[in-house]
């Protein structure tokens, strides 16, 4: 299987230096090889399983998480928000 490591890097927003491309390509190939070795699951064309379904939740408000604690997960914060590098699309 041909792996376009630069395309994967682009999708994942990762920058990979030129001299590392070969190394990552090899690693990725190993990962895919490992997955290919897993036994096939018969999905019969669809992955819905009516014999194993989930219970839905009532539309009732539960307390949210305290903001100051939540923001402790972020390296930079400002004005109650997570501060991130400027994005323009």
């Amino acid at each position: 299987m041909e792996i376009d490591i630069m395309r994967l890097a682009k999708l994942a927003k990762l920058s990979i230096p030129e001299d590392k491309v070969e190394e990552f390509r090899k690693k990725m190939e190993d990962i895919i090889q490992m997955v290919e070795n897993l036994p096939d699951l018969d999905t019969q064309g669809s992955l819905v399983d009516p014999t194993n379904t989930m219970e839905l939740r009532k539309d009732e408000v539960q307390p949210s998480f305290p903001r100051n604690e939540m923001l402790q997960n972020a390296p930079y914060t400002a004005a109650g928000c997570i501060l991130i590098p400027k994005v323009v699309d």
């Binding site: 839905l56 539309d59 949210s64 998480f65 903001r67 939540m70 923001l71 501060l83 991130i84 994005v87």
Partner: protein, 480 residues
């Protein structure tokens, strides 16, 4: 628009559902809250958390599915749509890929006086992303995740739309339908309803589709109208100059009235959908689906058509009445009393009452006015007990007070004078004071009779019977 070409439009509409809580966690679904206060580990996508689907979201989405004549897939699942963007902390959006909750429907919309049927490919449920606030002073962007996990339905149309006007009619109909069903507050200015527009053109008469271009950042329905016309004209110009349309995504700039290239096909996102392993299959029983269907009220387009055929109202009046759920219910309640003509009821609601609603920026249900009082007032006019002018006086009172119109007529002495003796005295006085008008009438300017009757009405303080006064004025002048 160049008539050698036909425009083909498909629309993807996202609408936020007005549930109490988010789609997969118990955080409040609320617009305008203090930043990052309605967040929890689930909607922030922290490792080790598990989403649990909100049953109200499923019910609301099925409602919309029924309103758009869809098949409901009672057994379905969720899929992950993967993309990196900082408004999406999980780096994937929980959506639905190959088995949408609703599919293969249609929506009938009114374009001019024609009914146009627009196919609905699918309606699926998914979660909204957060909001980025760009702030140059901080040298970065601020992420507010309150909107992460707010429930959305995405409604995808077939490429059945053939003009900007049809697109506008389709979007307006979706908007009123959301409000009728009470499943979304549908506020464009708060971004509760958003749309992506796909446009292509083809030679008139061709059955093959041209290459389509997707437009993002279309933030209002009127912007959609402008964006479609702009993009169609741009494509036609390219083709006329011998060029080729390429598949791409463009960004609409409504202020400048132009669009610019956002990304080409080569840069198209690859969302790598796969079934979400955190969420199992979910099943909605046939009974539940039927129960939801039975709860769907008569919708605006059906109402408009019925008002036209049943009450012989004009298309424009019928639509205005049907557009607002509260106004339509009020109108129907007045008709149900059987006391007055639908046409008069429509005229009062769309005339004097609408003026008040606009001035006060409120809904008809915010007034003290009851259908029974309005019906009684109109019937008093129709029975010629009071004049139209006296009706306006009564309306002023019953708008803000629940009071029997008969009482008001008695208290204010508004009953119409039909006594010939009393009216004759008024006519004589008015004719004596308006010699010029009388002469004009004699010289063939018969339309001055309106002026003279108006003077008589004024003289009678609005109590005279205008039809009688008119006959009496004409008879009196002819006798002169």
């Amino acid at each position: 628009m160049n008539s050698n070409y036909e425009i083909v439009v498909g629309l993807e509409v996202h609408a936020e559902l007005s549930t109490e809580t988010k789609i997969f966690c118990g955080c409040k679904n609320e617009f305008g809250a203090e930043v990052n206060t309605n967040v929890c580990p689930v909607c922030m996508g922290l490792p080790g958390t598990l989403p649990v689907l909100n049953e109200q979201v499923v019910e609301y989405a099925i409602k919309m599915g029924h309103a758009m004549n869809c098949t409901i897939n009672g057994t379905t699942k969720h899929d992950r749509k993967n993309y990196f963007y900082p408004d999406l902390p999980k780096s994937y959006q929980i959506s639905q890929f190959d088995i949408p909750l609703c599919e293969n429907g249609y929506l009938d919309v009114l374009v001019g006086d024609e009914v146009k049927r627009i196919g609905v490919t699918r309606i699926h449920i998914e979660e909204d992303a957060g909001k980025l606030i760009h702030d140059d002073s901080l040298g970065g962007s601020l992420a507010d995740y309150n909107r992460c996990g707010v429930p959305l339905i995405e409604i995808v149309s077939e490429p059945d739309i053939r003009s900007a006007d049809e697109a506008k009619a389709y979007l307006d109909t979706i908007h009123t339908t959301l409000l009728y069903l009470g499943i979304s507050d549908a506020k464009m200015q708060e971004g509760s309803v958003r749309c992506d527009v796909n446009v292509s053109v083809r030679p008139a008469g061709s059955t093959e589709f041209g290459t389509r271009v997707e437009m993002k950042n279309v933030n209002s329905f009127s912007a959609a109208h402008r964006a479609i016309n702009y993009e169609a004209a741009r494509q036609i110009k390219v083709l006329e100059e011998g060029g080729e349309i390429v598949q791409e995504t463009r960004r609409w700039d409504d202020v400048k009235g132009v669009n610019v290239l956002l990304r080409s096909k080569e840069d198209a996102q690859d969302y790598r959908y796969f079934p979400d392993p955190d969420l199992l299959t979910f099943v909605v029983s046939d009974e539940k689906i039927a129960e939801i269907k039975a709860s769907i009220p008569e919708l605006p387009v059906a109402k408009t058509m019925r008002y036209m055929s049943e009450y012989k109202l004009s298309r424009a009046d019928s639509e205005l009445l049907a557009l607002n759920k509260n106004t339509a219910a009020f109108f129907e309640a007045v008709i149900a009393t059987g006391k007055c003509e639908p046409k008069s009821v429509s005229n009062w609601i769309l005339g004097d009452i609408y003026k008040v609603l606009n001035e006060r920026k409120c809904e008809i249900t915010d007034l003290a006015l009851t259908p029974a009082n309005l019906a009684e007032m109109i019937s008093l006019i129709e029975k010629k007990t009071i004049s139209n002018a006296a009706g306006k006086t009564v309306l002023e009172v019953i708008l803000d007070e629940n009071k029997d119109p008969n009482e008001i007529v008695k208290e204010k002495g508004l009953a119409q004078v039909s006594d010939t003796g009393a009216l004759n005295a008024i006519v004589e006085k008015v004719l004596a004071n308006n010699e010029k008008a009388v002469t004009d009438f004699k010289n063939g300017k018969t339309n001055v009779v309106g002026f003279l009757v108006g003077q008589c009405m004024k003289e009678s303080k609005g109590k005279g019977n205008p039809a009688m006064l008119k006959d009496m004025v004409v008879a009196a002048i002819e006798k002169m």
